[in-house]
């Protein structure tokens, strides 16, 4: 989402506070006007559609100002691919390509500068990794610290399989108790009586 260009040093949003604000356009949806019947629910939903489409826009394209993008589409797509692998340290659950945080914008610019300067992908990743550590990589590397993380699917699947197998074996091992003398007599009686 392009923001209006402002002075180069505007008062910055306060980085340690949540970066999410309730969009102004959505505020009327949060609470209706008391004492007045609003539009029908269906109309309300339909009314939101253009807004939803507009909000979904960033999901399909990079955030950030268009002037920050590289002119060469090949380099730009490389930079975008690298950016999608890098975590925005402020929002922590978005890549720097998806985040509108200040720091993410700075990192997007740095990635593009490096790409334009001719660094290969690994070198650009290393540049950011050297400064921010493993956490900045959205795909964590395999090392002693992350071993448990990576092994978790195997552990979970293997554990589940082990539980299923032992339960099965136990179920198979339980044999019905042998018939008592009375049961055998009754069975013979039913059997013989039918013939």
């Amino acid at each position: 989402m392009a923001r209006a260009p402002g002075p180069s040093v505007a008062p910055r949003p306060f980085l340690r506070q949540p970066m999410y604000r309730f969009p102004k356009a959505l505020r009327p949806l949060a609470g209706g006007v008391p004492g007045r019947a609003g539009p029908s629910p269906l109309r309300r939903i339909l009314g939101c559609l253009p807004l939803l489409v507009a909000l979904a826009g960033p999901a399909f394209g990079a955030v950030g100002r268009p002037e920050d993008r590289l002119a060469d589409p090949g380099l730009e797509s490389r930079a975008e691919q690298i950016g999608r692998e890098l975590r925005c340290m402020v929002c922590q659950n978005q890549s720097i390509e998806d985040s509108d945080a200040d720091l993410a914008r700075d990192l997007r610019r740095i990635v593009r500068e490096r790409v334009q300067a001719g660094d290969d992908d690994a070198a650009v990743m290393r540049f950011v990794h050297d400064r921010y550590g493993d956490f900045v990589l959205l795909r964590p590397p395999f090392n002693p610290v992350t071993a448990l993380l990576w092994a978790m699917p195997v552990i979970a699947f293997g554990g589940g399989l082990a539980v299923i197998l032992t339960r099965r074996r136990r179920a198979g091992a339980v044999e019905p108790p042998p018939l008592t003398e009375a049961e055998r007599r009754r069975l013979a009686e039913l059997d013989g009586g039918g013939a």
């Binding site: 980085l15 700075d106 400064r131």
Partner: protein, 194 residues
């Protein structure tokens, strides 16, 4: 039916499994309580990230000065140092910086060297901030573009780094240095690396 085949009663040894959900819930509750308490006291920060620079020298940088204070240069952080040094990233627009400022002033009064790096700020605003709250910084640089901050791995302000006498980064704290952090973490570290 005279005699129904007796189904074996549930083994006594399995009875405890009835209490397993209860035990699990209790354990989860206890864990949650510990987490909430940690959040309250600041011991647990789910957004905290260890610095990638720990045990390494600070990156090279040159920064323009602010006002009449001498500028910070990387030479100030290279060994040999007579005492550990603190590097504090701050900004006038940053509210937690106001919270931590009295602690910085106290440290300076106690003779600790604090070098300041003013992050993405207007020089006039930064100077007004120091005039109003006092200046704890021996030297001060301005990082308007925020590039030096990225070299340090900064992801918000305030952030404070401790550099030992060998010129290595030993500690990074993201967030305001509250009196608690000062007494529990920073003072012991300053003693250890003195």
């Amino acid at each position: 039916m005279s005699e129904t085949p007796a189904t074996p009663p549930p083994a006594r040894s399995r009875r405890w499994m009835l209490y397993a959900p209860l035990g699990l819930a209790a354990a989860a509750g206890a864990g949650f309580w510990v987490m909430l308490r940690g959040l309250q006291t600041g011991e647990y920060d789910p957004r905290g990230v260890p610095s990638a620079l720990l045990g390494r020298q600070p990156p090279d940088f040159t920064l323009p000065p602010l006002g009449t204070l001498p500028p910070v240069t990387v030479a100030d952080l290279r060994p040999p140092l007579s005492a550990p040094i603190l590097v504090n990233f701050w900004a006038s627009w940053c509210v937690p910086c106001v919270v931590e400022h009295p602690q910085l002033m106290r440290l300076t009064r106690d003779g600790v060297t604090i070098l300041g790096i003013n992050y993405k700020d207007r020089p006039a605003d930064a100077q007004a901030f120091l005039q109003r709250h006092g200046n704890p910084f021996r030297k001060l640089g301005t990082d308007e573009p925020g590039r030096v901050a990225i070299d340090w791995g900064l992801y918000g302000v305030p952030e404070t780094y401790l550099i030992d006498r060998q010129g290595l980064i030993r500690w990074r704290f993201a967030g305001p240095i509250t009196p608690d952090v000062l007494d529990k973490d920073l003072r012991p570290l300053l003693r250890r690396y003195a």
